[in-house]
């Protein structure tokens, strides 16, 4: 199967400069906050989620992906008025799942990236729904068409963003 990892090269971990690990999540948070102000529809895109998915499927280390996802999620929570941990939990789950999946599939393939991002966007929405609605008792709007559209949009942006982030990869 073309999408499955078939060689040692495909399942090998990628390394990045340390500065990239720090700057990319901050840049994603800042752009998310700034662009949503001027383009309301930009709130449909979740740049921190895309960054979490990218590093999870690139590093393929579930522990580090879990910790990085939790850290990015908590930082995203800090910009909202919600308690810290809503996005932290969801992105920790996403990071762990994406890293576990990254070992088994070929994440260099654009089609794989699209499908993975599409699925993880839906997964995050499901986790958020559970947390907000059933754990915190807050209203949460769920509309299948909108959620599918949001997942498609994030997957499309993710493919482009992942290609850009590939440029920052350290050469072996």
């Amino acid at each position: 199967m073309a999408l499955m990892a078939s060689s040692r090269h495909e399942v090998g971990t990628k390394s990045y400069p340390v500065l990239i690990y720090v700057l990319t999540p901050l840049l994603a948070l800042g752009l998310q906050s700034f662009l949503s102000l001027h383009f309301t529809s930009f709130a449909l895109i979740d740049l921190p989620l895309l960054v979490t998915i990218y590093y999870a499927i690139s590093k393929r280390e579930p522990i580090s992906a879990t910790v990085v996802g939790a850290a990015i999620g908590i930082a995203q929570d800090a910009l909202t008025h919600h308690p810290l941990g809503i996005f932290g939990i969801s992105k920790a789950v996403i990071g762990y799942t994406a890293a576990s999946l990254g070992v088994r599939v070929d994440t260099e393939h654009q089609g794989t990236r699209f499908l993975v991002t599409f699925a993880f966007t839906l997964e995050q929405t499901g986790v958020l729904y559970l947390l907000e609605r059933h754990m915190l008792g807050q209203p949460y709007a769920w509309h299948w068409v909108q959620e599918l559209g949001k997942a498609f949009l994030n997957a499309t942006v993710g493919v482009i963003l992942f290609a850009l982030l590939d440029l920052s990869r350290r050469r072996e």
Partner: protein, 474 residues
């Protein structure tokens, strides 16, 4: 045991991270009634993240403002003169309206004082730029570039000239978080302006403000304005909130939710005002503005008088008691200027009919008989004393303070009195001396003050065609 941890290390780390965050969530969730705001480590984390994210946002925002300023201030100046002229005319119009409304405002203030109502006036505001959002659909918050160093504190109302935006929530040194009225966790006391139905405004799960748990009422119609009620002790009373969009019944059918279209465009906010200080007394600046508005309104009215608009017009003032009054037909309108605005002096039109000593003794009154001026004057009343028959007569007559003969387009001008049947006065009658005349240019006395003893002006006319029916209290 060691093999268990090494084998399930990844899953155990995930469980540990999730468990720690769930415990953290449980600690942060407040019970109803607890005050908002974070404490300790949570606030520290928020401050770190906001401190890391907001400087680049400020930089980007300032750059955008600079580029836009160059375009709007130096390049895109076409039609600016015409726009300035239109705005000046609008200012004149608003000054007239403000002068007319100032008396109502003062009267409302007196009544509120009588009722012990604490009206909140806006003393001080701080202008702020919106530099960012939360970036998620679930959290309708904004970040502004003013913080505690600028006098901002939590739970301060944030508004625009169009309407309310929300209230401040977390306040940092140079940045503040604003919770919009469209958020599901917000709350504002509002009232429907026409039906006077009160309710609590909060955002629904789709991010649109709504009044929740309202009793169904047929009078609730789309388009009705919604304003703040002042009952939440945060937003001052009377600020625009939006207009009623539609009514959505709740699933059980007993109550309805009223969707509101916000007056302020919450999706395109750039500059907002934070109300940092309110008080129960009208600010001195506002009082000064009202006084200035009245004076300037008088000037504007004087400028728009026909005699001022047409310098070549014959001096009609001298013949005011003559031709027009005797013939009962208006003089030709020589005004070639703009149509005169309603000459509404900011004064109570009717005199005090209820003060003692302005009315003849009851034994002197004859049912159905019209009082003569001498009778009123003999009773000690300077003018305006009114008995029952007199009031009936006044209902059928009109009283005016017209400025020119034939300026029948001024609706609120007083007409000269006539008899009780409402017929035109005899030609020689002229203006009734008992009806006080208050020039429009003068500031009015309070409604409770004795009536003016100013004699009728020579510009008063006796045209029965003028004006509207009397607006008397009778």
């Amino acid at each position: 045991m060691e093999s268990f941890f090494s084998r399930y290390r990844n899953a155990l780390v995930l469980i540990a991270v999730l468990l720690a965050q769930v415990i953290g969530l449980a600690v942060q969730v407040r019970r109803p009634g607890q005050t908002a705001g974070d404490k300790g480590g949570v606030r520290l984390i928020r401050a770190w993240v906001v401190g890391a994210v907001s400087p680049p946002e400020r930089l980007l925002h300032a750059t955008g403002l600079g580029l836009r300023g160059v375009w709007t201030n130096y390049l895109d100046l076409i039609h600016i003169r015409q726009q300035n002229k239109n705005l000046q005319a609008q200012i004149d119009q608003l000054r007239l309206e403000e002068a007319s409304l100032s008396e109502d405002a003062r009267q409302g203030k007196r009544l509120q004082a009588l009722l012990g109502f604490q009206q909140k006036y806006i003393y001080k505001t701080v202008a702020a730029q919106v530099i960012g959002t939360a970036g998620t659909e679930q959290s309708h918050v904004l970040f502004i570039d003013k913080g505690s160093k600028d006098g901002i504190a939590p739970d301060m109302p944030v508004i625009t000239p169009d309407g309310i935006v929300g209230k401040t929530r977390d306040v940092f040194d140079y940045t503040s978080q604003v919770l919009e009225i469209s958020d599901a966790t917000s709350g504002a006391g509002v009232i429907l302006q026409q039906t006077r139905i009160q309710g609590v405004l909060r955002g629904n799960s789709w991010g649109q403000p709504e009044l929740v748990n309202i009793s169904p009422d047929d009078r609730i119609k789309a388009g009705e304005p919604v304003v703040t009620s002042g009952g939440d002790s945060i937003y001052p009373r009377g600020l625009a909130v939006g207009t009623l969009d539609r009514v959505v019944p709740e699933p059980d059918g007993t109550l309805v939710n009223v969707l509101v279209k916000p007056a302020a465009d919450l999706s395109r906010l750039e500059e907002v005002l934070v109300i940092t200080s309110t008080g129960s007394e009208m600010p001195s600046q506002m009082q000064q503005d009202l006084t200035d508005a009245q004076q300037k309104a008088s000037d504007i009215l004087a400028e728009r008088l026909p005699s001022r608009a047409d310098p070549n017009a014959p001096p009609v003032a001298a013949s005011a008691n003559g031709a027009a009054g005797t013939t009962g037909t208006p003089a030709p309108n020589t005004n070639i200027g703009p149509p005169p605005l309603p000459a509404r002096p900011p004064a109570p039109i009717h005199v005090d009919h209820f003060s003692p000593s302005t009315v003849p003794p009851a034994e002197d009154l004859v049912p159905g008989q019209k009082l003569s001026n001498s009778a009123i004057e003999g009773a000690g009343g300077p003018a305006g004393g009114s008995t029952g028959p007199k009031r009936n007569a006044e209902r059928a007559t009109t009283s005016g303070s017209g400025s020119q003969a034939g300026t029948a387009s001024e609706p609120n001008q007083k007409k000269p009195p006539s008899n009780a049947k409402g017929t035109a006065p005899p030609p020689s009658a002229g203006p009734h001396p008992a009806v006080p005349h208050k020039p429009a240019q003068q500031n009015p006395p309070q409604s409770a003050t004795p009536p003016s003893t100013t004699p009728p002006s020579t510009t008063q006319q006796g045209t029965a065609q003028q004006g509207n029916p009397p607006q008397g209290r009778g």
